[in-house]
């Protein structure tokens, strides 16, 4: 099982066995989330965030510090030479010569794959465009594995922006690798999954159904993954206006839910989960966010050669 030196571009680059190995390492890392290991002492991680981020960037920084390594970073292109017109390739080449691994977030799809072609060090995709956010998908699966004890054989609903939301697309790819009993893709018509995703589900033999109504399937679900509408990725603002606020998870719709339903959300949320849900037994999204650090610690330690 070789993580060392590998690029992390899409969740589908990994096998279920590799992901379970990562999760076992992450579980160990939970013990060290408040202390400091020396696993990546003398290593430097570059964070190249061409797009804004809170959770992802801070959790990568925290993870690297907890592993004993250092971080160099920028979190928007304004304060860098990119504002002077430097292209992505030159920026990556430079970071590759300074750091031992690069984490990249970029607005353009395929930016991480391109950066990996340029860089001599591993590149980790922290979200590019609307399709891939593999480390988020690792955290999502880890939350289910950790809290439920298994990932396979569950009825899983994915609600929201399945067209432009990279966390949703990555989660669909990820959960499909673990043979869900049934997958429910719940979204407004305009935000249905792309044909590329549908082809993937068919190639994996996943039993899935597409619907616009959460209330009609809520009683079936073991896991409900909710995402916000990605305002910033809509090509046409008028289309965004049509679908914003078109779905909402509240106590009323949850009255029919299974006792042990888990609600996940990659955050940030806008108004797709009512605040009243936060204090129910269904709400796992803050726990999920807290797992960002141990999972990223595990990934960095494995990729940067701190552990096997």
């Amino acid at each position: 099982m070789g993580f060392k030196g590998r690029d992390v571009i899409a969740i589908t680059d990994f096998t279920p066995e590799e992901l379970l190995h990562l999760f076992n390492v992450a579980k160990t890392m939970e013990k060290y989330c408040r202390s400091r290991l020396e696993l990546l002492k003398d290593k430097i991680l570059a964070l190249a965030f061409f797009e804004p981020s809170t959770r992802t960037m801070f959790s990568f920084q925290t993870a690297m510090h907890r592993l004993g390594g250092s971080v160099i970073w920028f979190s928007s292109s304004e304060a860098t030479s990119i504002a002077k017109g430097e292209n992505l390739a030159d920026t990556i080449r430079m970071l590759s010569s300074y750091a031992d691994a690069i984490v990249i977030r970029h607005r353009f799809e395929g930016a991480a794959a391109f950066a990996a072609e340029i860089a001599d060090v591993p590149v980790i995709n922290a979200g590019d465009g609307s399709q891939h956010h593999p480390t988020q998908a690792m955290i999502d699966l880890y939350t289910i594995w950790r809290e439920r004890g298994r990932i396979e054989g569950l009825n899983v609903g994915v609600l929201g922006d399945l067209r432009y939301g990279r966390a949703a697309a990555s989660f669909i790819y990820a959960i499909s690798m673990f043979k869900p009993k049934k997958l429910y893709l719940i979204s407004p018509e305009l935000l249905k999954v792309r044909s590329e995703v549908r082809d993937y589900l068919e190639s994996k033999g996943v039993d899935y159904t597409e619907t616009t109504r959460l209330d009609e399937v809520i009683d079936e679900l073991d896991v409900l993954y909710v995402t916000r509408v990605q305002k910033e990725r809509f090509p046409d603002p008028a289309e965004y206006e049509k679908v914003k606020g078109s779905y909402r998870v509240d106590l009323k719709v949850l009255s029919k839910a299974k006792e042990d339903l888990m609600i996940l959300h990659p955050l940030p949320r806008v108004d797709e989960i009512a605040l009243e849900v936060d204090n129910t037994r269904y709400a796992y999204y803050f726990k999920q966010a807290s797992y960002g650090v141990p999972v990223r610690m595990a990934l960095l330690a494995l990729v940067m050669g701190g552990i096997e």
Binding site: G85, N87, L88, A89, H106, R107, F108, E109, G110, A111, A113, F114, D128, G129, S130, Q131, S195, E196, D199
Partner: protein, 158 residues
């Protein structure tokens, strides 16, 4: 009716390449993909919409004094999957092959996704696609994963 059976529209070439069985009406696109502009100096003959027993109608391109390399010619499989390539030496066909679409297509067509990194003008990047299906033709962008189908390809190459 084959071109050789009655009268030839264009005379035979002595040395060079004949691309036969091109779908009718696409010969200009074929030249375009091959980068042949007519200003190279060698003789080029273009025959369009002639009868073909296999295709009903077809186009033919003859390029004199230039033997096209297989990797060059395979690019035309994107729009002319039925085409055959004949290498001619001293008026005789010395090699005859069908075009074959490569597994990876690089640099001929652009990704239709405006948000794909391969469309950024100032990056040292060439669009690259993997073949998902050959008939009907469907390609997938190596970078962003978006599909491109035969219609989009033909539109780009017009």
């Amino acid at each position: 009716m084959s071109e050789t059976s009655r009268e030839l529209i264009v005379s035979k070439i002595r040395n060079g390449t004949v691309i036969d069985h091109i779908p009718a009406g696409t010969a200009l696109q074929v030249l375009n993909i091959l980068g042949i502009t007519g200003r190279e100096g060698y003789r080029v003959a273009l025959v369009m919409n002639v009868e073909s027993s296999k295709l009903g109608r077809k186009d033919i391109v003859k390029v004199e004094n230039r033997e096209l390399k297989p990797e060059e010619v395979n690019k035309i499989a994107l729009i002319a999957p039925t085409a055959t390539i004949n290498i001619i030496r001293d008026y005789r066909v010395v090699r005859k092959v069908k075009v074959k679409l490569q597994d990876v297509i690089e640099g001929i067509i652009k990704c239709p996704n405006p948000n794909c990194i391969s469309n950024l003008p100032r990056e040292p990047i060439k669009p690259k696609f993997r073949v998902v299906s050959r008939n009907p033709i469907k390609l997938k962008c190596v970078y962003c994963g978006r599909y491109i189908t035969g219609d989009d390809i033909a539109r780009q190459l017009h």
